[in-house]
């Protein structure tokens, strides 16, 4: 029985007066790929941003309930948010590499964590780029600007950049929605590799993608958790009428 890496209990979130997440109880298991799906506006992006406290930077955000990672509440007052974000990494919807070289992008995280020698950095950069299946394509171009890479390569660079800080959890917010099908396929393959070492949570509005890549799927609707189960079970035997309607395309 795999341990729950992340647990939310009674999670509610408001932006100002508007409640965006309602009473979410969810266990995310270690070394798995969990997909969060649902129609637009259901709160899925907001949900994963709870997990690395990125919602903190939005004004007027209020949270109740608990969010535990390895059994520690990350919203307790004593939490070091900066450190949390090195344990829980994030890849965004639109690839956002820094306007720096490929090398400097990947090295950014480690450099700000501690003093690292050039040799150490070289190793980390190579490992991370390999982990993101990008090394072969850029190993001769490490000093080129990251903005010269294609969209799919940029996104894998962002994944490498996130890997370089050696996180335990990787959050992906619709990572493929800005990419073409072949780039998407590469990243989906990557996810199968990544879950061996990390816990992956991915938000997607693409049901087929959720069915392809994830072990577990959660279905969110208007801020509430409607159903959460093994992916195969959810898609073949949805237990909730809403889930069934969503899956069969009755609403999008």
């Amino acid at each position: 029985m795999t341990e729950a890496k992340i647990q939310t209990r009674g999670l509610n979130l408001w932006f100002g007066r508007k409640q965006v997440l309602e009473n979410i109880d969810l266990d995310i298991l270690a070394n798995s790929v969990t997909a969060i799906m649902g129609p637009s506006g259901c709160g899925k992006s907001t949900f994963i941003r709870v997990l690395n406290r990125m919602n903190d930077i939005t004004l007027g955000c209020r949270i109740t309930g608990s969010v535990l990672i390895d059994n520690e509440d990350i919203y307790s007052p004593s939490t070091d948010v900066v450190k949390l974000r090195t344990r829980v990494g994030m890849v965004f919807q639109k690839p956002n590499p820094f306007p720096k070289s490929v090398y400097d992008n990947v090295a950014f995280g480690p450099r700000i964590q501690r003093r690292t020698s050039k040799k150490e950095l070289d190793v980390i950069v190579e490992e991370s780029l390999k982990g993101a299946a990008l090394w072969d394509e850029v190993k001769d171009r490490l000093n080129d600007s990251a903005l010269d890479l294609s969209g799919g390569q940029q996104q894998r660079l962002c994944i490498a950049r996130a890997l370089a800080v050696k996180p335990e959890v990787i959050l992906m917010d619709e990572p493929c929605s800005a990419l073409d099908p072949s780039a998407t396929a590469k990243i989906e393959q990557l996810m199968a590799e990544l879950k061996k070492k990390y816990t992956v949570v991915i938000v997607t509005h693409n049901m087929q993608q959720a069915a392809r890549v994830s072990d577990y799927t959660a279905f969110l609707y208007v801020g509430k958790l409607v159903e959460y189960d093994l992916t195969d079970d959810i898609f073949e035997n949805p237990k909730n009428r809403l889930t069934e309607n969503y899956i069969t395309g009755r609403f999008g």
Partner: protein, 277 residues
């Protein structure tokens, strides 16, 4: 039609400056003008060396940039990234006010009180000097540098900031390692425009710097800038004398300096706009 007025005026300036300025060179040797270190137009053997005023302008401008740039950039960073929106809305107009104050008023303040403050602290013998002018000039130049830098810093895309935070950067690390490096070219333009303003400033330095046409890099000496020499001596020359033309020639050099600075700044702005996505 009316827009061509702008172009017309630039052309006119060129024409008049150079037609009058170049006439100076009927009587003065160009090289000795540009490299001569003595400016004594009113003497038995008049000498028209530009170097004293050149060093005067460069000294005063250099010092004022030295004082102003670090403080201005840090202030701009604060306003752009750390300050609350209300604070920004109140403070930005106040800084704009600083820019609106006429230069003669700055000169007055330097003349009347800043010179005394300096003497009180440093006990320098010469009351009106380059330092006096630089201090007040740095105040005049600060609003320009602050507002253009602030624009550049604020236009760094939100995505970069988010990415940095998500990688475990603190807010200051995000600012110092991502936001500021990305806005460097904009900040550079801000500084260039500040330099342009400083070199072109007339009244404040005229009233504050003492106006001794000597070659000196000592901030506590009196110096004369290119702008000041024109303003002071033009009132006393006979029209169409060599001295008269020489002053136009100084104006020509000044014009070329500021032209170069502004054009380079324009080029950088354009190239930056093309690259920035």
């Amino acid at each position: 039609m009316a827009a061509l007025a702008s172009v017309l005026i630039v052309v006119l300036i060129f024409v008049f400056l150079f037609s009058n300025g170049l006439q100076a060179f009927r009587d003065i040797d160009v090289v000795s003008f540009l490299t001569g270190t003595i400016w004594q137009p009113v003497s038995e053997q008049p000498k028209y060396g530009l170097v004293p005023m050149l060093t005067g302008s460069l000294l005063v401008t250099g010092l004022s940039i030295l004082f102003s740039v670090p403080i201005s950039i840090l202030c701009a960073t604060y306003l752009s990234q750390v300050a609350s929106p209300t604070f920004r809305e109140i403070v930005k107009p106040i800084i704009e006010m600083l820019a609106a104050i006429p230069s003669v008023v700055y000169g007055f303040v330097a003349l009347i009180i800043i010179a005394d403050v300096i003497q009180g602290i440093l006990h320098n013998p010469i009351r009106l000097n380059a330092l006096n002018a630089s201090i007040v000039l740095s105040l005049m130049v600060a609003p320009t540098i602050i507002s253009i830098s602030e624009d550049a810093i604020s236009s760094v895309p939100y995505e970069y900031k988010e990415a940095a935070l998500a990688l475990g950067a603190s807010k200051w690390e995000m600012i110092s390692k991502v936001v500021l490096p990305s806005s460097l070219s904009g900040i550079f333009v801000a500084v260039m425009l500040g330099v342009g303003r400083a070199i072109g400033e007339t009244m404040a330095v005229l009233m504050a710097a003492g106006n001794a046409a000597v070659v000196s890099l000592n901030p506590l000496d009196s110096v004369e800038t290119m702008t000041a020499v024109i303003a002071i001596e033009m009132g006393e020359v006979t029209f169409n004398s060599t001295h008269f033309y020489a002053l136009f020639a100084v104006g020509g050099v000044l014009f070329l300096f500021t032209l170069a600075i502004n054009l380079v700044a324009q080029v950088i702005v354009r190239r930056y706009k093309e690259l920035g996505r």
